[in-house]
Symmetry: D2
Subunit: 339 residues, 4 copies
């Protein structure tokens, strides 16, 4: 049960509601987010809504039968729109495109990408400065200094920055240089990290776990929301299966399923999903017609020289062609009106 | 190695080629298909092509490094087009749509579907008369009598029939009432069935196995081709994974991968792929933009009363809307030109 | 619901029972197996057992809530024992060992293996004469002539033969030369084949499908039983997963789960399960302590020269050591008394 | 390449080796662990060992072709033994048993378990105080205060404590109250956590990821080792597959594969592996005969009242019977001598 509280609710009124919930044995959790105040109740048995429904200070009450609550579509009529400022919003009729290298490698690389993005009117740049690597001996990213460079060039050009955060201790120092925190597939159930990201006022994009279920992804989002941050994006990036002809198995069905279950925007990552450059465009297009609100993709000026993921990074010319196609297919998706 | 033989090759010339192959220790397999004559050679070591290349009777020779040979794209420049007659072809710029019920249930049901297809200019009807069912106590289909009814109504209306064949002994009796034999996911590696289907002159659509790899699907097609039948379609219908929110995990990446590896047309089955009615249209559209040459889908006048798979069958109105959208997206797919 | 009929039931009595079932709207299926007569009823709603319980000719009635019926443990107190004659039985306190090559290759190979088995008191020999192969260009087995040789040497030495049947048309010609029909993983849901094997009076061992669930394996067994053959063995042989360090993922948990759900004997196949020679013995031992009634394994005099599966075939010396260990661990398994 | 350095190596000698490595273009990483000093070299091409082999200060040099180095069996003859003090060692001929509740719930629960362990001569107690839970609304453990109680009762009774650490910030405060840090399946690739655990002198048990490959588990161990901690245990706890009859699919084949690839001890977790109480004992036994050095299992005085995982926790009586059987089967495993 989600109780939306009035903006002007008094402390006394809030106490009264909590007392009443205790009286009827419903464990309750007050929640103050970047947008609003709520009380989440997890009733263990059936109960009569009227026992609390008419208490002062309450804006609205919703029963939510899903075991995730705040991220469920059952209580929130309108889909969440993530506003990044500068007239850049995610979750609208316009497709959000996030494009950039796997890893930030140098200042000149940043400049080259930024130029490419500006030419193509792409407003969000991706790029890793902390890289999760299976082997401790692989390149692990430029770290915070790389991020500062990355952010400087982007912010000067009106481009927003999305980059991966790997651990709690990085959150604070990254905060001023990030527009969207990305939680990677390997950290999709790093609950401590999710808790802390729930306490900042920056959007968080959570990638589905390597073999994470759709429900687990929603639960991970619930961690962030129930810690106070409503600005959440979900990302389908492929799951691990027996098939090895592609890097992962991009589960595009997950997109309409997610769009039905949650009010949060859904992003598709075709680069990690298929992992083969020449197939990335079709998977990106398929993701959009499946209902995705945005696409995150890897590009590189010279993919064959990339520090990582070169085999799945698009050349600039490929990307340029694709941006237009993606925007065209988004119009079609809007017109067909499935999600 | 694939040796294409001249139409007018003499027996003596053929013998000479085979003798020469034996001499240089290359196991050879003569192959007469519905289109052409070949010799397939499986060399175990490197060899000098000139040792056979200039023998009379040879049209062309191709080295094929894949371990499947005849279905590989490496030797055949033009994609295979399946001509069903009546101006209905699969593998062209026009999308092939196969629509119909999971199972043929009655004559009136056939009539209703045929009428719906005619209205929507859909030229191929699907429908099972032999149903593979996990439990022996489930409905197993109307059998050959059902097929005759099915075929009668379709052929009278210029509609082609695709239906599943489950075992060798059914092939002959079905032959006159079928335009495309479908091999189901559970029979995807029923090699005896594939062998026999290689000996008839009717198109065969092979579904990917429940947990079949892309390579295994190509090998299964190789069985049919190497037994003499070049008229083969491949079908992506979802694979089995840990995710249970959808019936299967529709692996749309398999479509561009297949289109790159083989010259055979690829069909997408969104109905079994996602298994949830409301998500079928988006998956169908995504399949087409991924490069599919056709779509096979389940429809029913009253899905809630269907003998099987009702939960994934579209209502007529949904299907009608979808056909137009599919055709529109196919135009886009052609224009983008990825596969 | 399973109605066990008396041996001396009259036709009239049987009719009366079927009429009564029809009257109370329970679809019924009379079933005559190699052991007994039954009527299987699939009630769609709750019903009162007394409405049929006291009719003459009935031996016993059991409600079975599982959707598979005859193979369920819920109605049959005693585990099924497969008697192969010659004092060789499977499903007793003694471990059944089936050992032999992947494929029958030659008469001298058969003789060599038989000698090895006799020395080690192993009473069942495995060996394929019809080999399901992904590629049509691989060795497909010696066929029926190979089987006759195989059977001749074994029967002369009191050794029983288990071999794979791949299609319906093979059943009759193999019948006289086989002691146990094996249904391979790729045919685990070849329902026509299962139906026909239900009509012969020879034991049938069904392998779990490549990505078959435990329930699907039980349903496949139900096909055989409900067609008239109670002599069924189930075989765990590994499932397909993302892990590629082993050929398959041997799912040993399936053994106690199966032993709890069904009265049929369960065999473990460590050779295909792990696919790496040096790890086969430990997986065989683990299978037995998990509750397996038997082990089927691949051996070869010179594995490096085997036509197929050499990498997972044991040398004779390894096998000899393992047989003793397996028997010792079976004693322990009996003493611990878990299944 | 692993260069083992002499105990008495001088700074100058070390510098010389590093200089020489730089000269021949081999990236090198000096490494000081709780046991020894090494230099790890990651050569990119073939090189001549003699170019460094005779430098003073070097104890031994090994080429390791695996991409994980320090955890590979290729350079270390003897298996690693983890000495917990009090004559409790893991990785010897004696089986290590770790038994206890899923979560620490109360002091009286701790006392009850400790008493049970003492009676059964079990020397390591498991129990979670930080619980990773999919849903933020589930019980998340008693935290550090629970750990102090847990440790107090155990240390007073000569019992060692293994418990899960979930994030970097917990490591320091847990340090004095833990004998083995456990890294859970969801944190198996939390590389920052692994890095930090490499800097403490306490054993670390890493669980295989929910869909982690065997190689990824070894890489995770390489993170810990290459940060300075050689005291590592690996744990097979089941992987996620399509089969839902069991909680996970316990991959026992992973045990001999791991024992062949690494010198680290391997523990099996049958409780999470199968997730069904009655099948836990057989899976535990199977794990030991597969070569496991230890077993970690969940027990509870009244499993039906457990805060979490009750369905897979053994009753005391079951556990008591199982401990003896496990020890007996370990003797057999030693005698058979496979790993």
């Amino acid at each position: 049960m989600i109780i939306q509280l009035k903006k002007n609710i008094t402390l006394k009124q809030k106490e009264k509601i909590l007392n009443q919930l205790e009286k009827i044995s419903i464990p309750a959790r007050p929640l103050q987010t970047n947008f609003k105040e709520y009380i989440v109740g997890i009733p263990k048995t059936e109960f009569d809504l009227r026992q609390i429904g008419n208490l002062p200070g309450i804006d609205d009450i919703h029963r939510v039968s899903d075991s995730y609550k705040m991220v469920s579509k059952k209580w929130k009529l309108h889909n969440t729109v993530i506003d990044l400022g500068g007239n850049i919003r995610i979750g609208t009729d316009e497709l959000a495109i996030m494009s950039g290298p796997c890893a930030i490698e140098s200042e000149s690389q940043i400049e080259s990408i930024v130029e490419h993005l500006l030419k193509n009117n792409v407003r969000i740049m991706r790029g890793g400065v902390y890289k999760p690597r299976s082997s401790p001996y692989s390149f692990r990213g430029l770290g915070i200094e790389g991020l500062k460079l990355f952010y400087k060039h982007c912010s000067q050009n009106g481009i927003k920055v999305i980059t991966e955060v790997m651990q709690v201790s990085q959150v604070e120092k990254m905060l001023d240089f990030v527009d969207i925190f990305q939680v990677g597939a390997r950290n999709s159930q790093n609950f401590n990290l999710l808790d802390v990201l729930g306490q900042v006022d920056k959007p968080v994009m959570i990638k589905r776990g390597i073999s994470g279920t759709i429900d687990e992804l929603l639960y991970s989002a619930e961690y962030v929301f129930s810690s106070g941050n409503e600005k959440i994006l979900l990302c389908e990036r492929g799951i691990r299966t027996f098939e090895k002809a592609t890097r992962n198995t991009l589960d595009l069905s997950a997109i309409p399923v997610l769009k039905e279950k949650t009010h949060l925007p859904v992003i598709v990552d075709p680069s990690h999903g298929v992992g083969i450059r020449k197939h990335v465009p079709q998977m990106a297009l398929a993701g959009v017609i499946s209902g995705a609100d945005g696409v995150i993709m890897e590009i590189h000026e010279t993919p064959e020289k990339a520090f990582s993921d070169g085999q799945q990074s698009l050349y600039y010319e490929q990307a340029t062609k694709l941006y237009d196609e993606l925007r065209e297919i988004k119009l079609l998706s809007n017109r067909f009106g499935y999600s």
